[in-house]
């Protein structure tokens, strides 16, 4: 760091050294009769020493030579001449010059060291101040402001570029300082990608950023610090470089800290939102199911009254009951879809035979399937598959239900499963009108139904729920038409089932 002396100081140092020597000469000249020549030599050496301490090495060397010359001219006989009467004085000159040079060297070295130590101390202090100020920054804007203020003290404009890696290519967000042009941004990009400092000295003094420091944080590069010098003094930039690098790493750490603080706050918010959503869902589910349970139960009670009610009343009670069940079905679908769409359904996956949920689905849909000819094709050696039984039962139920709803009484419904190389493939097909060809690719979208306005009851949620569940398992689902009916196929990844130790024969 500069000691804060005026910049003209460098230029007046040499004249000052000369002036010092002349001053010594005129100070001592009147006393030349009183003083021994040896003492006058001492006074000149003192001058050289003072010049070395105050003015530095060069002026001290000048003072040494000038001192010898003046001493010779004014004090060594013959006076006022460079001629030397006694050859002995040549030794005096040589010693005087040598002592002057050595003294000036030592003194200058000392003062340089002191200056360096002071500069280092100053650097440490400003870096400490920067670290302290950045530590208190709560936003990137504040951090950029503090950096800007700090680098302003060394005549530089700082622009903090924070890398945004959320997109496909890295984009920079600018904080503080000047707005960078596209050339400067391309330098910044290469500094970011190569993780090295890029300097473009040739552009110095043109008011553009010429130093690009990558912000290397512990986990990754967080961005780039672009510096625009306010003067064209490239040399100073060099001397400040360690300081600039230290500042860049401080800024990098702060950006990382702010990033993690932000992420933590964000995930906390998400947890709260998720809690709220699931508590709304579960209270909705409870509050709506309770009256539906009463409706179904009370309608049943009416139908079973003793003595029996008139036939019309029993039929009405049956309709009330069926409608309440239908609302419940709708409600379950809506709640399931809400959970699945939130993307946070916790799969309760376990290794199990697929056959098991075929059996339970058929039992659940026994009434609906009674009027159809169900053909099941499950090889006995199907491997175990890892899935959430409750959710997959929903898929199989929904598919069988659709197959039954969109087919006539007595129609065939086929359910087949087979193991492919990497996945289990399951298909549910029926004999019926099939999906409308023009909407085949939309049937898995929410609230899209195969047929517009039909007499078949439904909401258009069944297949969307199937798709969401299969997707959550990492499988695929697709619909197709085949001659005389429709088919829905889905797959589940097979993976490696856990080993089963066979029991020893009894």
């Amino acid at each position: 760091m500069n000691k804060g002396l005026p910049s003209g100081w460098h230029r007046v140092r040499y004249p000052l050294a000369a002036a010092l020597c002349i001053l010594t000469t005129f100070g001592v000249f009147p006393l030349r009769e009183l003083l021994e020549l040896a003492n006058i030599v001492m006074l000149f050496l003192l001058t050289v020493f003072i010049a070395a301490v105050w003015l530095g090495r060069g002026p001290a060397v000048l003072a040494a030579f000038l001192g010898v010359a003046l001493f010779d001219f004014f004090f060594v006989p013959p006076h006022l001449s460079f001629a030397v009467a006694d050859a002995q004085y040549l030794v005096t000159f040589a010693v005087m010059l040598a002592v002057g040079l050595i003294t000036s060297h030592l003194a200058a070295l000392l003062s340089e060291r002191t200056e360096q130590a002071q500069a280092r101390e100053q650097e440490t202090r400003v870096l400490y101040e920067l670290a302290r100020d950045l530590g208190g920054a709560l936003t990137l804007d504040q951090a950029a402001d503090i950096t800007q203020r700090f680098l302003g003290s060394v005549d530089m404009d700082a622009t903090v570029l924070v890398a945004d890696t959320s997109g496909e290519t890295v984009a920079f967000q600018e904080y503080g300082g000047r707005h960078l042009n596209s050339l400067e941004l391309s330098f910044a990009h290469s500094a970011y990608e190569r993780r090295t400092i890029i300097e473009t000295d040739s552009l110095a003094g043109m008011g553009v950023a010429i130093v690009f420091l990558p912000l290397n944080a512990p986990s990754q590069v967080r961005g780039v610090l672009a510096l625009t010098p306010r003067t064209d003094d490239v040399g100073r930039l060099r001397t400040h470089r360690p300081l600039l690098e230290a500042a860049a790493s401080l800024v990098a750490i702060i950006i990382e800290r702010l990033h993690y603080a932000d992420a933590a706050r964000h995930s906390e918010l998400e947890v709260v939102a998720e809690k709220l959503r699931s508590s709304i869902l579960s209270s909705l589910s409870h509050d709506l199911r309770t009256p539906l349970t009463s409706l179904v139960g009370l309608a049943d009670t009416l139908a079973q009254m003793r003595p029996p009610l008139p036939d019309g009343a029993i039929e009405t009670a049956g309709i009330i009951r069926d409608q309440a069940q239908a609302i419940h079905h709708l409600l379950s679908n809506l709640l399931d879809m809400a959970r699945l769409q939130a993307g946070r359904v916790k799969l309760n996956k376990e290794w199990q035979p697929f056959e098991e949920i075929v059996g339970s689905s058929r039992r659940l849909l026994a009434t609906l399937l009674a009027g159809r000819k169900l053909e099941i094709d499950l090889p006995r050696d199907l491997p175990l598959v890892c899935f959430d039984a409750v959710l997959l039962e929903r898929v199989v139920c929904n598919l069988l239900e659709n197959a039954a709803k969109y087919s006539r009484e007595g129609a065939r419904i086929q359910l087949a499963a087979c193991a492919r190389e990497t996945h289990l493939e399951v298909s549910v097909c029926n004999d019926g009108p099939g999906f409308p060809a023009e909407r085949l690719d939309q049937v898995f979208e929410l609230f899209v139904r195969g047929e517009r306005e039909t007499a078949v009851a439904g909401t258009g949620m069944g297949l969307a729920i199937c798709e969401a569940i299969i997707a959550a398992h990492g499988g695929t689902i697709g619909a197709e038409n085949r001659p005389g009916g429709a088919c829905v196929r889905f797959t589940l990844p097979l993976g490696t089932p856990p080993a089963v130790e066979e029991e020893a024969p009894s």
Binding site: V296, L298, L335, P353, G359
Partner: protein, 229 residues
């Protein structure tokens, strides 16, 4: 009729549901006792000999699990749970705590009465345990370790036989995966659920007429199994 009526306590905070459940029970000839809170339910159960408790899991004053644990400290009375369909974990917790069966809301009265009748038979508690069992075409004689189907002897492995015996002993009840694993393989093996599923599958292959549509060894998806004759 001097024989005392079957006493059933209905613990449910929703008055409408309590009403139709009790109506149905009374038509069945049971004495239905209404309780709006868990506290009342426990008091009623302590007041007189009780044959069955029907319990809603969502009570205001106490969790259903606590109620079951409390009751189970002094009474083996059968417990039938009423709960929402989506809450498998709650059902499993209730069953593991000592409940015997569950019914998902909304439920048909006919289904409720079928479960009540099955639980009131209490074949696993009445001390009249017989070694002979018969379901479908299958006959089992536990005293002679003989299993036959349509008159032909069926060979079961040790584990298959043990599994069948546990199921017969819990006829009509829902058995959680955990419960079955513990009974058949012992306490250290409750995490290896796939063993249970494989052996249930084998048992079905050997004993069920149509293993893909079992009539006796039923799957309670996400919860466990139920055996019914």
């Amino acid at each position: 009729m001097n024989e005392p009526k079957t006493r059933v306590i209905v613990v449910e905070d929703e008055p409408q549901i309590r009403r139709f459940v009790c109506d149905a029970l009374r038509k069945e000839g049971c004495a239905a006792i209404e309780a709006g809170t868990a506290r009342q339910g426990l008091d009623q159960a302590a007041a007189d000999k009780t044959d069955l408790v029907i319990l809603d899991l969502g009570l205001p004053d106490m969790s259903g699990i606590e109620f079951i644990r409390d009751l189970r400290t002094w009474s083996p009375v059968p417990i039938l749970i009423l709960s929402a369909r989506s809450a498998e974990q709650d059902k499993i917790a209730a069953l593991d705590a000592g409940a015997d069966d569950y019914l998902s809301k909304p439920f048909a009265v006919g289904e409720l009465l079928a479960r009540v009748r099955a639980l009131l038979r209490r074949p696993w508690q009445d001390g009249s345990a017989r070694p002979q069992h018969q379901f479908g075409e299958v006959e089992v004689d536990l005293s002679r370790r003989i299993v036959s189907r349509a008159g032909v002897e069926v060979h079961l492995t040790q584990i298959e036989y043990r599994l069948l015996a546990v199921m017969l002993a819990n006829n009509g009840k829902v058995m959680t995966h955990r419960h079955l694993m513990q009974e058949v393989w012992g306490p250290g093996h409750t995490e290896q659920g796939h063993y249970l599923r494989i052996y249930v599958g084998r048992l079905r292959q050997k004993l069920e007429a149509d293993p893909a549509l079992p009539q006796h060894i039923l799957t309670e998806t996400g919860v466990g199994y139920r055996f019914q004759t």
